[in-house]
């Protein structure tokens, strides 16, 4: 009855199916991602996304900068600019990085469309299909997505309360080299890690740098949260310890606002030259308008005081979340971040954060399952909770609802205890995190 070729006569809803590059495989609709659609509803408390609380920015601060830029530099703001970025802004970025111990030349700064683009461009420069990228376990979902898109093989390395474990790094490099694998770089988020919330200790930083230098492994240091400490400042950046061995990524998304889409890479000069070329090929130039507004803001406003304002906002929300977790979910484990946006929660072995998500939707709370932060299917016993966007009251409500979700799930699993395998079937989704615009 059917044709020998089963596809003859089929209606193919994507006429280009079969034409996509191999790197596009796995880009499918995701049931998990679809569930996050409810997070935009006000009835739902979303503890899932990493949206900064931009309402803490005084409105006049930005609008004044906008007006000045148009008045004084309108044509330049509306025109193409340098592929490397506005020179004045690159100088000002040095002042931002100096707060974390970095001394550099503005010539080695490349402004990008968000540090996400810098991450993408560096990966494009270095990765051939099958190359290994070392990353913490867990790692930033946006980075994993980029690495996958260039067909890299991500190898996760052990992380604890003090960040990446040096022995794990050394052992990982040795093992992979013995297997004949090509390691291109270590990707690390040393400060208020997304999603783990931990900070690489001062003691470990020179050790990490030394291990990588001896092994000839480049470091990509991604640092969007370093200035958002609640108490003590973070240790000096890895870049300050190894100017030639580290590509440093910075961003204004969390210290000002993500809507500008301005970040940067600070790279050794030879890499920087290539970065400029690939950046120009990708976008011609970063937004002149956004750069000039940020440059004006940095020169006119007390931006350090504004960052301090943000710290206060996020500290209060962190505290609300920690108090709520202690009150409603004392049986779980979690870290206590001293800055940043995230708390990394550990679930009991019988629970699965991804499988539980539909129940969370029913209970009107959203979180990001830990599986989003692993390239190898790990993370099922973890949840990332974001405290950056919801109010403290919403955070408390959200954690209460999460407690209902977890108790409901445990009750259900207890009903079936001893009847067979209750571990969900492993399916590695390519996309398991909410899109960036959902808080």
């Amino acid at each position: 009855m059917h044709s020998a070729n089963p596809n003859v006569g089929a209606i193919q809803l994507d006429p280009w199916f079969g034409h996509y590059a191999e790197r596009a495989s796995g880009l499918s609709a995701s049931e998990v991602r679809a569930l996050f659609a409810v997070a935009s509803r006000p009835e739902v408390v979303s503890l899932a996304g990493g949206m900064p609380y931009v309402r803490a920015l005084p409105e006049g601060l930005v609008s004044d900068a906008l007006a000045r830029v148009m008045r004084e530099s309108g044509p330049a703001a509306l025109q193409y600019g340098s592929g490397q970025g506005v020179p004045a802004l690159r100088e000002q970025i040095l002042d931002v990085m100096a707060l974390e111990g970095i001394s550099a030349s503005a010539d080695d700064v490349v402004v990008t469309t968000g540090s996400q683009q810098a991450l993408d461009l560096v990966t494009k420069l270095f990765i051939d299909p099958g190359d290994v990228i070392l990353a913490e376990a867990p790692s930033y979902v946006g980075a994993i997505g980029v690495f996958r898109s260039y067909q890299a093989h991500v190898v996760h390395l052990e992380t604890d309360a003090d960040g990446l474990v040096p022995d794990a790094l050394a052992d990982g490099i040795q093992k992979l080299r013995a297997e004949g694998r090509t390691i291109k770089f270590l990707y690390t988020i040393p400060n208020f890690h997304n999603p783990a919330g931990v900070t690489l200790s001062a003691e470990r930083r020179p050790e990490i740098v030394r291990i990588c230098a001896e092994a000839g492994v480049l470091i990509m240091e991604d640092n969007p949260y370093g200035l958002l400490h609640f108490d003590e400042p973070v240790p000096s950046a890895l870049r300050s310890l190894s100017p030639d061995g580290v590509i440093y990524l910075g961003s204004f998304s969390k210290t000002l606002a993500p809507g500008f889409r301005v970040g940067w890479a600070l790279a050794p000069h030879a890499i920087r030259e290539k970065l400029v070329l690939v950046a120009e090929a990708a976008i011609l130039c970063p937004s002149s308008f956004s750069q000039l507004v940020i440059s004006d803001y940095l020169s006119q406003a007390d931006w350090k005081a504004q960052i301090n304002e943000f710290r206060g906002v996020y500290r209060e929300r962190r505290d609300a979340m920690l108090e709520s977790l202690a009150e409603h979910l004392p049986e779980l484990t979690w870290n206590v971040p001293n800055g940043g946006f995230y708390i990394w929660v550990g679930l009991p072995d019988d629970l699965d954060s991804k499988a539980m998500l539909p129940r969370a939707v029913t209970e009107l709370v959203a979180y990001t399952p830990g599986t989003a932060f692993f390239a190898d299917g790990g993370g099922r016993q973890n949840i990332r909770l974001s405290f950056c966007y919801p109010t403290p009251e919403s955070i408390r409500l959200g954690v209460r609802r999460l407690a209902t979700v977890i108790s409901g799930e445990r009750e259900l699993l207890e009903t079936f205890a001893g009847t067979g395998r209750l571990t969900p079937t492993q399916v590695t989704d390519s996309v398991t995190a909410p899109p960036p615009d959902l808080s």
């Binding site: 009855m1 059917h2 089963p6 596809n7 006569g9 089929a10 209606i11 193919q12 809803l13 994507d14 280009w16 199916f17 079969g18 499918s28 609709a29 995701s30 049931e31 679809a34 569930l35 659609a37 409810v38 509803r41 006000p42 009835e43 739902v44 499988a355 539980m356 539909p358 129940r359 939707v361 029913t362 009107l364 799930e409 259900l412 699993l413 009903t415 079936f416 205890a417 001893g418 009847t419 067979g420 395998r421 209750l422 571990t423 969900p424 079937t425």
Partner: protein, 317 residues
């Protein structure tokens, strides 16, 4: 009634299928706008009825997949508020939304359907999960399909061929709803029958055969263009087609459905169509089967949607 209608398309809501609903709603709204009508899209919330009062639509098109729009509650409230809408009577929606109830009614109408058991979370808790699981396997065998009793888009659905995996499948179904239905697996051709009534009585449009590339019509296969092949008309004998058409019409009738429905079937190797479920609000996204059926019938999507809206706008309340 004026030629140009004011139509309120409701989409989104709070359900597991919100994203699908938004896509269906957008496609319907665009099509009706292209026909020259004034279309407003609304995401139901506490202000819904106040906004509907201010818009005063000629007709409402509920495109709310999931419990938000398919369990009949919203339809009943629209009726109570004096609003006309595209879709079935609230009671019919309630019947179709419950898979076990729909199966029972459709079976009584003479349509074949898989042997099944409907089970609740409470039953597992009170009677002992091991006992209930054993009864399920004894009754239905090792190869079964587990589904939440309410829901769509294949959410919470698991095909089980290893009894060791049955407990997890039950947990996954109960994550969506406290009642689950377990059906004996029937091999065959997966077919969707779109039934439309634009004034000449219910008509079954060309049957759509669904062939997911990886063998399972999962959420990913449904909503990723290219991951499922469709054959319209379905590749089957005249006898099998007739069985499917008759099954769809019978299901549509016994459930009291009108306007538009999609009846999902499995046609076995003997050409017998088995009822799976009825959808009173079929997906109308870029990857949905109902639009394929409409176009295969030589009809224009926008014209069909317009006809449905016009009929609903003059329906006696």
């Amino acid at each position: 009634m004026t030629a140009t209608m004011t139509i309120a398309v409701l989409s989104g809501g709070i359900s597991h299928e919100r994203e699908i609903s938004l896509r269906t709603g957008r496609r319907v709204a665009d099509a009706l706008s292209d026909r020259g009508h004034s279309v407003v899209m609304l995401d139901p919330d506490a202000d819904l009825f106040a906004r509907l009062d201010s818009i005063s639509p000629d007709v409402v098109w509920p495109a709310l997949h999931g419990s938000s729009g398919e369990d009949g509650a919203l339809l009943g409230l629209l009726t109570a508020h004096g609003l006309l809408y595209v879709g079935p009577a609230p009671s019919s929606a309630r019947l179709a939304w419950s898979k076990p109830v729909a199966k029972t009614l459709v079976e009584r109408a003479g349509v074949a359907t898989a042997t099944s058991l409907t089970v609740t979370r409470e039953a597992f808790r009170e009677l002992g999960a091991a006992n209930v699981l054993r009864l399920i396997v004894d009754q239905l065998g090792d190869h079964v399909v587990v589904k939440p009793a309410q829901g769509g888009s294949a959410q919470g659905v698991t095909i089980v061929s290893d009894p060791e995996r049955l407990p997890r499948a039950m947990v996954d179904a109960f994550t969506y709803h406290d009642v689950a239905i377990v059906e004996m697996f029937i091999g065959g051709t997966e077919v969707s029958a779109t039934v439309v009534d634009i004034g000449e009585g219910p008509r079954v449009l060309p049957l759509v055969e669904i062939v997911p590339l990886d063998g399972t019509y999962s959420f990913e296969a449904r909503y990723t263009a290219g991951e499922t092949n469709f054959f319209v008309p379905a590749r089957m004998t005249d006898v099998a087609s007739a069985s499917a058409v008759n099954a769809a019409l019978a299901a549509h009738a016994v459930l009291g459905l009108g306007d538009l429905s999609r009846i999902d079937l499995i046609v076995d190797e003997h050409g017998v169509a088995h009822f799976l479920e009825a959808n009173t609000l079929p997906g109308l996204t870029e990857t949905s089967s109902a639009p394929l059926a409409i176009e295969a019938a030589g009809l224009a999507l926008a014209e069909v949607y317009e006809s449905l809206a016009r009929r609903a706008a003059v329906r006696p309340s």
